[in-house]
């Protein structure tokens, strides 16, 4: 039933049926969560073997002879630099291996630029009173959290099917030197799941920002996180930047949070010589070294990049049916209504749904009433402000397929009810 072309009585009748269904669902007392991109226990179980590769009889030395139990090696052990070098497709010498969270590496990077100048003729961002950051929307709430904490004015950039609207990005950064950076999840973007096109990557590499210290925060969180057998590919931004002489533009981030353990993975960044020196000037005071035993544990468990890719196949086997469940529910229950559209990504952790404008908050509220927790409406926009009140991020990884089926029934019913409430009150 196409809600947008149906008459009042038909809609009224549909609403009555749905309200009854909603009451039946509520009576079930569901308690399901599709709010955060958390791996399921089954996925975490895939890495339990990693907890055995270092034990009381292990030699905890690296190939180069570093005792991982002791202090030292601020930039991480070579074994992990090589592994992340392969993930990033960069020279391992440009890699810094940190603690358990790439979010922390990103926060610390912004924090570093806040109080120190990367070039002699630039200012610490703290001193740029009208500092701004570009935020592709819908995007990742925790990115916006960092630049929000540091009082940046956050400028939303629409996400197109090819990535951020590059016409807008190019124009803005060229004319305003208080714009200091942009948040990017270039592959299987959070939450739309789209991957930046080759042209988008090339245009990023060719940017001519007015701010010499403009930085692309290239959060490649889902770089090897395919959920289908037709994975996306992403152009190597480091190589492109070499061609344009813009080596200092991007800083790359990733982690094993969604590969091994979300709480106990290893994070890494890759940066140009200038950026790395700038960041190391800080890290040399911030720490003596990050957890090298956990680095060694990861390096031994995977052995090499191929081992990592083999491991990702196991995640794919668990995640693929969950993504299919969500897409199937949307297709069968919402497609005809014409009140919503959604992405169908080849990887990552999310499906992005746009419900009828002005109803996202209401959908989330109704779902909660029926025992299904979603990411807060607006969370995918800076300041939590989705001007269309339309975007909802669905995170299908944590629930079981059975739970997802129930949760998606709830979601679709709620999306319909919210739409009908709006259409009937026009």
């Amino acid at each position: 039933m196409n809600y947008l072309s149906s008459d009042f009585d038909a809609l009224k009748n549909e609403e009555k049926v749905l309200r009854q269904h909603f009451e039946e669902i509520k009576a079930k007392g569901l308690n399901l969560n599709m709010a955060r991109g958390k791996p399921s226990p089954e996925q975490l179980d895939l890495s339990m073997g990693m907890l055995d590769v270092i034990n009381s009889s292990s030699d905890c030395h690296t190939a180069l002879g570093t005792d991982c139990r002791n202090y030292g090696n601020v930039a991480g052990i070579d074994e992990c630099k090589r592994l992340f070098g392969d993930v990033f497709e960069v020279d391992p010498q440009s890699v810094f291996v940190g603690g358990n969270a790439s979010l922390t590496l990103m926060f610390d990077t912004i924090s570093c630029f806040m109080t120190k100048a990367v070039y002699e003729d630039t200012l610490p961002w703290y001193e740029v009173k009208n500092r701004k950051f570009l935020c592709p929307v819908p995007g990742y709430d925790r990115h916006f959290g960092i630049t929000g904490y540091y009082d940046f004015e956050m400028i939303p950039i629409p996400m197109l099917e090819t990535g951020p609207d590059m016409d807008m990005v190019e124009k803005l950064v060229a004319e305003d030197d208080s714009i200091k950076g942009i948040w990017c999840v270039p592959k299987y973007s959070n939450p739309t799941g789209i991957t930046y096109s080759d042209e988008t990557v090339r245009r990023f590499a060719a940017l001519k920002p007015a701010a010499k210290d403009f930085r692309i925060m290239w959060d490649n969180a889902y770089c090897i996180h395919d959920v289908t057998d037709t994975p996306d590919t992403l152009l190597n931004i480091v190589e492109e930047c070499k061609k344009t002489g813009n080596e200092d533009l991007p800083i790359l981030f990733c982690s094993t949070s969604k590969i091994t353990f979300s709480g106990s993975g290893v994070a890494a960044l890759s940066a140009s010589e200038t950026n790395m020196k700038f960041l190391l000037d800080r890290y040399n005071f911030q720490t003596i070294s990050y957890d090298k035993i956990n680095m060694l544990r990861h390096a031994k468990f995977f052995e090499d990049y191929n081992g990592l890719l083999e491991h990702m196949k196991k995640h794919q086997a668990i995640l693929a049916p969950k993504f299919e469940t969500v897409i199937n529910a949307l297709e069968t229950q919402l497609k005809d209504t014409n009140i919503a559209n959604w992405t169908n990504p080849n990887g990552g952790y999310f499906i992005s749904v746009n419900v009828l404008n002005g109803t996202a908050k209401r959908v989330v509220e109704l779902c909660k009433e029926a025992g299904v927790i979603l990411t807060g409406a607006g969370a995918t926009y800076p300041y939590g402000n989705d001007p269309d009140d339309s975007n909802i991020r669905i995170a299908p990884s944590f629930p079981t397929v059975g739970e997802l089926e129930s949760a998606m029934d709830v979601f679709c019913v709620c999306a319909k009810i919210a739409a009908l409430e709006k259409l009937l009150n026009k």
Copy 2:
């Protein structure tokens, strides 16, 4: 032979004998290191069992049901909060458990105050252009590194046998509101090994700083790190601050870096409600959670505070003979000469030696020539500037007792030669 009361010819003769001895030592081609407070492999071996308490068949949930493998619990797991609560002698609810390094928690604390104001009527320290920090000397170079990085003017405060010179501290903080804090290692201080007297702690708790946002960085790094059976005791600053209404004054830090693994321990801080809220406002953006599996690993390995103290006895058994070796060498080889004095601490990681004024750099240089690496002279002072060029920090933990004996022979010969060079050139 008392160098200070001997005549020129006697000193000249002594120098000749020592130079010959020095050449013999050099010929041995030693390669020893007493530079950093690094635990020895034997000490690290004490915690190898910890690598077995969590393995592939472990239940990784906390008592409260948190899956340590997944995201969440930004302030750490309850099991570790309790353990560190006992170490700090504070309410576990005032504890934040972080990553592997208390240095990082300290850096991040200063970093937090740099760009945000803790009270409505104070300023982010970045905006205090002549910001200053008090630095007890000799002290810990990595502390000075943090406030140096953030461009504080660092004011040296002499260390007395009771702790920092409190007359000076009280006077300075009362009259200058650009003084924002002081670095303290209150127990087995780095490098002198002295423990603050009860009166010193009470005077800290009773400080009336002109700066409302003055903070005491209470780095209790060696809180349970005794090396003798007559350990020092430290008054509980949190309790004292409750009495004076100065709860926001201290922020406490510690870690298991010198309890389990220096590279893979767990660090914690304890702070007042106001400070904790201020810091959590940042941590909630900086991370989703620190490594909870490593927290659980520690909690399970020690079980409770008594388990921790039992473990420290094993460290003591390894460290005590090393401290004795250093003290014996100093007593037998340097005491008569009257050119040096030193501390004889009941715990911690260091022995602080004052050689003849104006010779510390030369002693370090001579030692290096003979194959013994010491902490750089001056490192224990802000800006590496020891005005007397006298203090040298000896770190006896890493070498074996045999190596220490050789290294201390070198040290004593070099201290004597440097003194003679100075005395003979008067």
